[in-house]
C-alpha cells in the first residue's frame, strides 16, 4: 500500500464514520438510524482493514471480518428485530429540534478536536483520533436527549463504534481475545436491552423512556 493510498483510504473511512454519525443525530426515523449503523459498521471494518494492512498485521482481515459481521450485520439485525417487535418506525416526540441538534453536533465535533491533544498520535492514523472521539461524544448526546428506547440503543452503539475507532487508530486494536470478548459483550447488551424494550412496550404501550420516573427519592 502506498502512503498516498493509505492516507486516502483513512480519510475516506473516517469521513464515512463521521458522516453517518452526524446523519444519525439529524434524523428522526428509526429505520434509517439502523441502516446508518450498518453503513457505519462497514466503514469501521474498512478502517480496521486499512490500518491493519498498513501495519502489516497478519490477523487484520480476520479482525475486519469480525467487526463487519458484528457491527454491520448482527447488531443492526438485533436492533431491527426489537424495532419491529415494538412496532415503531419513527420517534414519537423530540425534546430538541433538528437545527439545534445539528449545531450541537458541529460543536461536539469541534470539541473532540480541541480536547484530543494529548492522545493524538504522530502518524496519519493517530491524527484521525478526533473522529473516534466525535463519535463517542455524539453517542453521549443521543443518549442524553433522545426519548425513544430504540434511539438510545443507537446512541450506545454510536458510542461503542467511536471507542472501537479510537482503539484501531491509536494502537491498531486490542488482542483478538479481548476484541472477541468485547464484541460478544456489546452484542449481549444490545440483545438484553432489546428484550427489555419489548417488555417495556407491553407494559406502557410505547417504547419511550422519558416516562421511566417511578423510582426516585
Amino acid at each position: 500500500m502506498t502512503p498516498e493510498l493509505y492516507r486516502q483510504l483513512l480519510a475516506t473511512t473516517t469521513g464515512a464514520l463521521l458522516l453517518t454519525a452526524v446523519l444519525q443525530v439529524w434524523g428522526r426515523s428509526l429505520l434509517r438510524s439502523i441502516a446508518l449503523l450498518a453503513v457505519q459498521g462497514a466503514a469501521l471494518a474498512a478502517l480496521v482493514l486499512t490500518v491493519g494492512l498498513h501495519a502489516g498485521e497478519p490477523e487484520a482481515p480476520l479482525v475486519a471480518l469480525l467487526v463487519l459481521v458484528v457491527k454491520s450485520v448482527l447488531l443492526p439485525w438485533a436492533m431491527f428485530r426489537s424495532a419491529r417487535l415494538v412496532g415503531e418506525t419513527r420517534e414519537r416526540a423530540a425534546q430538541v429540534s433538528t437545527a439545534v441538534e445539528l449545531i450541537v453536533a458541529a460543536g461536539l465535533t469541534l470539541l473532540a478536536y480541541v480536547v484530543s491533544g494529548p492522545i493524538l498520535g504522530p502518524d496519519a492514523a493517530g491524527q484521525a483520533v478526533p473522529v473516534g472521539l466525535s463519535l463517542v461524544l455524539l453517542g453521549f448526546w443521543q443518549l442524553l436527549v433522545r426519548g425513544s428506547a430504540i434511539t438510545q440503543l443507537a446512541g450506545f452503539l454510536l458510542l461503542d463504534n467511536g471507542i472501537a475507532a479510537v482503539s484501531f487508530l491509536t494502537s491498531g486494536g486490542l488482542p483478538l481475545t479481548v476484541e472477541l470478548g468485547a464484541s460478544l459483550d456489546v452484542l449481549l447488551v444490545v440483545l438484553i436491552l432489546g428484550v427489555l424494550v419489548v417488555r417495556l412496550q407491553r407494559q406502557q404501550g410505547h417504547a419511550d423512556i422519558t416516562e421511566l420516573r417511578e423510582l426516585h427519592d
Binding site: 492522545i119 479510537v166 486490542l174 459483550d185 438484553i192 436491552l193 421511566l212 423510582l215
Partner: protein, 490 residues
C-alpha cells in the same frame, strides 16, 4: 496450581449449563450455592498456594492469581455463600423459572471470578461487562414496571459507564507502545510504568477509573444503584451490594497502581477523594429522608464505597489492608442485611419503612439480627467494620489529608444518624406489623421460616464479622501480601 484458577471459572459455568438444561427441577436452586462454595474454597486454597510459591499464571498469561486476586476471590465466595444460602426460598413456596435464575447466578459468579483473576485489563473489562449482562434479567425478574425501569437504567448506565472504562483501557494500550509491543497485561504495564507515555497515561487512567467508578456506585455516577439494588430479589441485591461493587473497586485499585507508578499519586488521589466525599455526601443526605428500607441499604452501600475510595486515595499499607478487610466485613454484613430485608418484605408485603414497626418484639428472629447488622454497617465495635473504618481514617490523617478526612468524618456521622434513626424506627417500639399476613397471632417460635436452617447463615455472617476484628491477626500476613501485590507501598 493452575487448576485452582480454572475450577472456579469452569465449574460454575458447568453448573449454569445444568441449570439451563433442567430448569424445571426444584433442586436447581442449590446450584448457585454449590458454585459459591467452589469459589470460596478455591479462593482460600489460592491464598495458601500463592503465599508459598508466588503468583499462579495460566491461560497463556491471561489469567493470574496473586495474593490480591486470591483475597478478592475468597471475599466473593464467602459473601456469595451467605447471600445465596440466606436467600433460599422458604420451604413450601413455589419458585418460577428457578433453573434459569440459578444458572444466571452461577454465570454471575464465574464472571466475577474472571474479573479478579484476569491479568489482562481488557479481559477484566470483558468480565465486568459480563457481570452487568448476567445480572440484568435478575434485576428485572421481579416483574412489573418498577423492576423493568430499574433494569433498564442499570443496563444502560452500567454499559455506558463501563464503555468509558473501555475507552480508557484502549488508551492505556496505546500508552504502552512506548516500551515496545502494545500490551494490556497488568504486570507488564506495572513494570513498564516509568516508560509509558505520561500524557496518554493520565487521560487513560482518569477515563478507566471514571468508568469503573460507575460500576462501583461512586457518586456522581451512582444513579442506577439504589434502583437496581432495591428492585432485585434479596440474594441478588446482597451479591451486587456485597461483592460486585467491591470487584469494581478492585479494578480501580489495579488501574490506580499503574497510573501511580507512572505519573505519581496526585491524579488518582484527587479523583478518588472527590468521588469518595461526594458518595458520602449523597448517602448522608438521602438516608435521612429515605422511606424504603432496601433503598436505605443501597445508600449505605454507596457510603461504604465512598469510604473504600477514600482509603484508596490515602494509599499506603494501613489504608489498603484496612480497605481489603473492609470489603469482607461490609460484604458479609450487607449480604445479611439484604437477606433479612427480603424476609421482612415477604412478611409485610412492602418495602416501606413506615410499614415496619417493633420488629424486635414482633419477630425477634428478624429484628435482633437486623439491629445488630445495622450496628455493624454503622461501624460500631465489636464488628470488624469499626476497626477498618478507624484504620482508613487514621491512615488518611497520617498521609496529611487532614481536610478531606475531617469532612469525611462529619459526613459519616451524618449518615450514622440517618441510618440509626431509620433502623431504630423499624426495630424498637411496640410490636405491630401493618399489613402482616396472619395478624399478630403467630408467635416467634412458630412463625414460618424462623427455624435454624434459615437462621444459620445470618448468625454465621454476623458472628464472623464480630470476631474478625479481634481474630484478624492470622489474616495480617495475607492482607499485607495482597497489599504488596499492588506494587509495594507508595
Amino acid at each position: 496450581m493452575a487448576a485452582l484458577i480454572w475450577l472456579p471459572l469452569l465449574l460454575p459455568s458447568l453448573l449454569a449449563a445444568l441449570g439451563f438444561g433442567l430448569r424445571r427441577r426444584r433442586w436447581t436452586m442449590w446450584l448457585p450455592i454449590a458454585a459459591a462454595a467452589v469459589v470460596l474454597l478455591a479462593g482460600i486454597a489460592l491464598l495458601v498456594a500463592v503465599q508459598g510459591s508466588g503468583a499462579v499464571v495460566t491461560g497463556a498469561g491471561l489469567l493470574r492469581a496473586d495474593p490480591l486476586s486470591a483475597w478478592l476471590l475468597s471475599v466473593v465466595g464467602a459473601v456469595a455463600v451467605i447471600s445465596l444460602w440466606g436467600g433460599l426460598p422458604e420451604p413450601g413456596t413455589e419458585e418460577r423459572a428457578g433453573g434459569v435464575h440459578a444458572a444466571l447466578l452461577c454465570l454471575f459468579l464465574a464472571a466475577m471470578t474472571l474479573a479478579v483473576t484476569a491479568d489482562n485489563l481488557g479481559l477484566m473489562w470483558v468480565a465486568i461487562e459480563l457481570t452487568t449482562i448476567t445480572t440484568a434479567f435478575l434485576v428485572a425478574s421481579g416483574g412489573g414496571r418498577n423492576a423493568l425501569e430499574a433494569a433498564w437504567k442499570y443496563v444502560v448506565l452500567g454499559a455506558v459507564g463501563v464503555a468509558i472504562a473501555f475507552l480508557g483501557i484502549v488508551l492505556l494500550s496505546a500508552a504502552s507502545q512506548g516500551g515496545g509491543e502494545a500490551t494490556l497485561s497488568w504486570t507488564l504495564l506495572l513494570q513498564r510504568a516509568p516508560v509509558l507515555d505520561p500524557a496518554l497515561l493520565r487521560v487513560a487512567g482518569a477515563l478507566t477509573v471514571l468508568g469503573f467508578a460507575t460500576k462501583a456506585g461512586l457518586a456522581p455516577m451512582h444513579a442506577w444503584l439504589p434502583d437496581a439494588h432495591s428492585q432485585a430479589p434479596a440474594p441478588v441485591s446482597g451479591l451486587m451490594s456485597g461483592v460486585l461493587l467491591s470487584v469494581a473497586c478492585y479494578a480501580i485499585l489495579r488501574v490506580q497502581a499503574v497510573v501511580d507508578a507512572g505519573v505519581g499519586p496526585e491524579l488518582m488521589r484527587i479523583l478518588l477523594l472527590t468521588g469518595g466525599l461526594l458518595s458520602l455526601a449523597v448517602a448522608a443526605g438521602l438516608v435521612l429522608t429515605q422511606r424504603d428500607y432496601k433503598r436505605l441499604l443501597a445508600y449505605s452501600s454507596i457510603e461504604h464505597m465512598g469510604l473504600l475510595a477514600l482509603g484508596a486515595a490515602a494509599g499506603g499499607q494501613l489504608a489498603i489492608a484496612a480497605l481489603l478487610l473492609h470489603m469482607l466485613g461490609h460484604g458479609l454484613v450487607k449480604a445479611t442485611m439484604f437477606v433479612l430485608a427480603g424476609r421482612i418484605s415477604s412478611l409485610t408485603g412492602s418495602h416501606r419503612i413506615a410499614d415496619v414497626h417493633g420488629l424486635l418484639q414482633r419477630r425477634p428472629d428478624l429484628g435482633s439480627p437486623f439491629l445488630l447488622g445495622a450496628a455493624a454497617l454503622l461501624g460500631l465495635p465489636p464488628f470488624v467494620t469499626f476497626f477498618t473504618e478507624v484504620a482508613i481514617v487514621v491512615a488518611g490523617f497520617s498521609r496529611g489529608l487532614t481536610l478531606p478526612f475531617l469532612a469525611a468524618c462529619g459526613l459519616l456521622l451524618l449518615g450514622f444518624a440517618g441510618i440509626a434513626r431509620q433502623v431504630l424506627a423499624m426495630t424498637v417500639g411496640a410490636g405491630r406489623v401493618r399489613g402482616a399476613a396472619g395478624g399478630s397471632a403467630a408467635s416467634p417460635s412458630t412463625a414460618p421460616g424462623s427455624g435454624w436452617p434459615r437462621r444459620a447463615p445470618v448468625v454465621v455472617a454476623l458472628g464472623l464479622t464480630a470476631v474478625l476484628g479481634f481474630a484478624a491477626w492470622p489474616l495480617a500476613g495475607t492482607l499485607l501480601a495482597a497489599v504488596a501485590a499492588l506494587g509495594g507501598v507508595r
